[in-house]
């Protein structure tokens, strides 16, 4: 600004540098540890300079934990969740903003209130639902008396089939797709779109779907990128949910889940192979890190404008 403050400037740089060290040193240590052999990584005090075992460690970590299919699963889940969230946010907000019907505020609030129900507070029953997804509907049918009605009239027991989402991509993706923040973000965006656009589209004879697809969606590209980056990071980093519903780890395990299995230590009576564990950690954290680094602008905008 206007004044000269040489001492304060030096102090500022010192503080910023300290902050940088605090925030990046853990990542550096993970990297350094992943490049040494067993003996060096367990030496105290540890060296802060990379060694030459990098390729061996990463190859071993990759092969030993079967990271190939797990990374692939993580990508499938992360992309599925991201695409699903964007799609569902775009259409629900479209319905709420561009159509005039009685329950639209109620619906909006129903979606919005889910912010107060994070997975962790409803974890056991959500797991139970995933084990048999149609059970809520069966119980609803029973509750309103439809089941007994059909039973007396037609003599058939009205039973919905069992549908378990455990050990499936559907189970990893579908329960995470509902999005209050995404819907809110899209609603805010639609409200800033000038009314004249819809008017013009109507005058030209475009129906609601045509208007949505040809006008609104292309306009919302910025929104999409912002939402997409934060949701990709969110979905890739999921841990508790996959841990619960995946028991068939060979086929459906995700990369982040695998971290639990590479924790070294006397706990499992094996030598602390930290170099392999750190190689695994670094591999798991890389994809979302790259997304944040390369999509920085969209990422920040998405984070700030959704305000959770």
């Amino acid at each position: 600004m206007v004044e000269r403050t040489p001492i304060l400037n030096i102090l500022t740089h010192l503080i910023l540098l300290t902050g940088l060290i605090m925030l990046l040193v853990p990542l550096w240590i993970v990297f350094v540890a992943s490049t040494h052999d067993f003996r060096t990584v367990n030496t105290v005090p540890m060296t802060l300079w990379p060694g030459n075992q990098m390729i061996e460690n990463y190859t071993l970590a990759w092969n030993q934990s079967g990271f190939g299919p797990k990374m692939l699963n993580s990508f499938i889940v992360a992309i599925g969740v991201t695409a699903g969230k964007i799609a569902i946010a775009a259409i629900s907000a479209y319905s709420i903003v561009y159509f005039n019907y009685r329950f639209r505020s109620l619906f909006f609030w129903m979606i919005f209130v889910t912010l107060m129900l994070p997975l962790e507070v409803r974890i056991v029953p959500t797991y139970a639902v995933a084990a048999n997804v149609l059970r809520p509907y069966q119980e609803l049918l029973d509750l309103v008396g439809l089941t007994s009605l059909v039973n007396t009239v037609a003599g058939i027991r009205l039973a919905l089939p069992e549908w378990s989402m455990l050990n499936s991509y559907t189970g990893l993706i579908l329960p995470l797709i509902a999005t209050a923040t995404g819907t809110f973000l899209y609603r805010q965006f639609y409200l800033t779109v000038p009314d004249e656009l819809a008017e013009a589209a109507k005058m030209d004879g475009a129906g609601p779907l045509r208007f949505f697809w040809d006008v609104l969606l292309p306009l919302s590209k910025t929104n999409m990128a912002a939402l997409g980056t934060i949701m990709f990071v969110y979905a890739w980093n999921q841990y508790l949910w996959p841990l619960l519903i995946v028991t068939d780890i060979a086929n459906y395990g995700t990369a982040v889940m695998q971290l639990q299995r590479i924790v070294p230590g006397p706990l499992f009576g094996e030598p602390p192979r930290w170099h392999i564990a750190m190689a695994g950690t670094l591999m798991v954290m890389t994809p979302p890190l790259l997304v944040v680094i390369f999509m920085q602008r969209w990422f920040v905008r998405g984070l700030v404008s959704t305000d959770k």
Binding site: M110, R122, W236, M285
Partner: protein, 295 residues
């Protein structure tokens, strides 16, 4: 709600467009939340059959359990200290980055990175860095044997998970503080500078007061996050130990529900946590003015 002047009138289509999300929300949010409520007031008979209504008994069991209060106490300590730590560091960094001295873009760029790291990965990294017999902090033990051991000492374990959690939250706070600072009109600070107030004076008298809404918003978010999203870090670093020293509320729900198979007790605890989250969110909506920044 502020709607559009121009709307479409096809109600069927409107219903069809919003139905998928409503179905998901009902199936995976409202139904399980309702079920948690039902389970917390009922007990499953040991030999099968319908759940039996037991009133407040599950809650009584939970509240009379010293282990539960232990986990509440630890969760509160954990949430408060990681919030203070993460927000304090983020605020200082944001204020100084906002001075825009040469090179500030580089700092701003790299401060974001920790946000991308998954909680269990943070946990594993910190477990290594703070391991008593290897890694970075173990040098302390060489200098003074036995001073640091999170696997044995409960206080050390709490410090470890708090540091890990704070580290992973600094980036988020930083982004919001910086956005808040950047939304303060430049003319305001320039005018103050013209009037002769120095950098620190401007920070204290202009930037901090104007950051108040952001600050309050972040307090709520950080607390909620520490109460709710701490599972990944705890599970990898300490698994609730040693001797339940890091048995956070979320972790206890998980271990009672899935390892102990006691759904009713887990449901009662979930409900307490749910009330906590709801009240925090409510405070946020009630008292925090929503401010959207367009950068």
């Amino acid at each position: 709600m502020t709607g559009k002047r121009v709307t479409f009138s096809n109600t069927w289509l409107a219903g069809l467009l919003i139905a998928p999300q409503l179905i998901l929300v009902f199936t995976f949010f409202y139904w399980p939340a309702g079920e948690a409520l039902y389970w917390s007031f009922t007990l499953e008979p040991p030999f099968g059959g319908e759940n039996q209504w037991v009133g407040w008994q599950n809650f009584k069991t939970v509240f009379e359990d010293p282990l539960y209060w232990n986990s509440v106490r630890i969760s509160v300590i954990f949430a408060l200290s990681s919030t203070v730590l993460a927000m304090g560091i983020a605020l200082v960094l944001a204020v100084f980055v906002d001075r825009r001295l040469p090179g500030y873009q580089a700092y701003r760029f790299m401060y974001f990175w920790p946000y991308a790291v998954a909680a269990p990965a943070v946990g594993l990294a910190f477990r290594f860095i703070f391991a008593p017999d290897a890694g970075f902090v173990s040098a302390l033990n060489q200098w003074y044997p036995g001073i640091w051991n999170p696997a044995r000492n409960g206080v050390d374990a709490v410090i470890l998970i708090t540091l890990a959690n704070a580290w992973s939250m600094v980036a988020y706070n930083f982004i919001f503080f910086l956005a808040g600072l950047q939304s303060i009109p430049r003319t305001l600070t320039e005018a103050a500078a013209m009037d002769g107030s120095g950098v620190l004076r401007r920070i204290a008298d202009i930037q901090f007061p104007l950051l108040a809404p952001t600050f309050f918003f972040l307090v709520v978010i950080n607390l909620t996050d520490s109460f709710v999203n701490s599972f990944g870090i705890v599970d990898i670093t300490t698994a609730g130990g040693p001797a339940r020293a890091t048995d956070l509320m979320v972790y206890k729900i998980y271990s009672d529900g899935f390892k102990g198979k006691d759904y009713s007790l887990a449901a009662a605890q979930s409900l307490v946590l749910m009330l906590l989250v709801i009240s925090l969110t409510f405070i946020q909506f009630r008292f925090v003015e929503r401010r959207v920044h367009y950068s």
